[in-house]
Assembly symmetry: none
Homo-oligomer: 117 residues x 2
Amino acid sequence: MLIRVDSGSSLPLYDQIASGIRRAIADGEVGRGERLPAAKELAASLDVNMHTVLKAYGMLREEGIIEVRRGRGVTVIDQPADRAALAESARRLVADARRAGLTTAEIVDLVEAHATD
Amino acid sequence: MLIRVDSGSSLPLYDQIASGIRRAIADGEVGRGERLPAAKELAASLDVNMHTVLKAYGMLREEGIIEVRRGRGVTVIDQPADRAALAESARRLVADARRAGLTTAEIVDLVEAHATD
DNA sequence: ACCTATTTGTCCGTATGTATG
DNA sequence: CCATACATACGGACAAATAGG
């Protein structure tokens, strides 16, 4: 898995790492169900602290794209895409947001705030 | 704001702190829009590390209950219930979309498609 | 415009705990 | 029992946003 980080970037290192892993998965560089390197190893290879990698892993776990378990490591979740459920989620979000009085632009902002690349 | 933590508990300190703050808000001990103590202060009063308090604050921010800003401190959000539900919906949508391999731009497109003005 | 203090954000390092195999 | 690997908590350092003088 090829990831590069730039300590001079304005983006936090953990964001860069999370993005790199998302890309690696999207590109099929790491397959579904496959294991990602241990935090300690990835940290060493990127020359960052283990906590920084663990924070990136934690983000991806909250996004539901990896499974993180102590003693076992990190694996990419293998789940088929369900576009129907996705559309339903989007519909429900918009409905709730409308009820709360949000404009379309505000809804987009809200979504983007939860979709940090 | 009265919070108690037990280092002997099986629950992490940051969970205990977050729970304590949720309760304090629910009980009206701290009002909407009011400010919570600086992380450093709360940490000192609970005899825990500042980072532990910051982690608790981060959790509550993700839940949409509080607003945390650098240099300004932490304030309780006006409509926690609605915003919290919205944030949760947005989080879930993004997680599902990520799992389906969508990029941020594609997620925004999906939302906009359901938010025709 | 400048300076200072405050406050959170990020990153590092270390130590210890806990689940897994 | 032992090694691996993440989880929690501590501490320190510096950066960046904010507020106020």
